[in-house]
Symmetry: C2
Subunit: 187 residues, 2 copies
């Protein structure tokens, strides 16, 4: 193995569009530096230079919209231009749920309406810990049991080393199940 230095190799991660409202206007930004916090909360790690952070801090709400391939051109676009000097409010059609400042993208397969519970600041980033209040799912990506079917969603993923988007693959195994095949002799 080759030691390539202090490189964060924990990819790919799902690409999201974070929706907010700043000075009464809807704004969108592409964020893939995300995480799962516990089992019921999420992390959004956003550079302090972004315009979005003002809205998130003022409203203490956000939307997190999963990106599929059909949304990718717009999704990448809202990560290229800043709301400081470009009106991005009409890039996505949206609806509102019960929270102010959390516009939800109509064509996203999964749109989460969230409250911000904590903000951990570092020198360069605001790390937002957010809790979903309502999760709106497109009917065509729900499985028969009423849960999200990620093969149908096919979320766009991100990797930092070569700055590329990847698609999601197929289901290959059930968790806490395939490991039962393990024996010391076999592996």
């Amino acid at each position: 193995m080759k030691n390539i230095g202090a490189v964060v190799g924990l990819y790919p991660t799902p690409v999201t569009i974070v929706g907010t409202e700043i000075d009464g206007k809807v704004n969108w930004i592409t964020i893939a530096h995300i995480g799962i916090w516990g089992v019921d909360k999420m992390l959004l790690s956003i550079n302090k230079s972004h315009y979005t952070n003002k809205g998130l801090k003022e409203n203490r709400t956000a939307s997190i919209n999963i990106v599929d391939e059909a949304m990718l051109i717009e999704a990448d676009y809202v990560g290229i231009v800043s709301g400081k000097n470009t009106d991005k409010s009409n890039v996505f059609e949206y609806f509102t749920g019960e929270l102010k400042g959390a516009p939800l993208i109509k064509k996203s397969p999964i749109a989460m309406e969230c409250e911000i519970e904590e903000i951990y600041e570092t020198e360069t980033h605001d790390n937002f810990i957010v809790r979903p209040v309502n999760t709106y799912v497109r009917e065509d990506v729900l499985s028969e049991n009423g849960k999200i079917d990620y093969e149908k969603v096919n979320p766009v993923l991100f990797e930092m080393p070569n700055k590329q988007y990847l698609s999601t693959g197929k289901v290959i195994a059930k968790c806490w199940n395939i490991g039962k095949k393990y024996t010391k002799d076999k592996c």
Copy 2:
């Protein structure tokens, strides 16, 4: 769209094996509740009930090993049984780098040797913020420019709603590039 309630839909996430050392013995656990913190750190969100947490807190080090399909049976196995009552030290062949308590899996495509910088505790979870010190990459998954090629790595991904593993798909676009095609008329 259907409102399915307060569901965390931010999947799939890469599956990792977190390596530690407890009372002088190597231990492994499967963790997919992860994140990217800023650009140079990662999140590991681990339920407090796990044996691993003791080692992580004592050593303030950890390894994060990316899982490919060839490792999946062992990877799932170390998430099924606990180090409290099962010796998992010989499930993976490992090597050690410069940090104590961070065993690195030889056959993992990407093995990161990490220091723990912060621990944010919630009622149920320890949220570890970790910084890679050295990242060891299998030569066959490096691209010509010396960076990690995620198509070659093909990390195993996890989704919680149906508790399944998925494969990673193909590269579909370059970031901060495909968005240049956006025009209001087109989208």
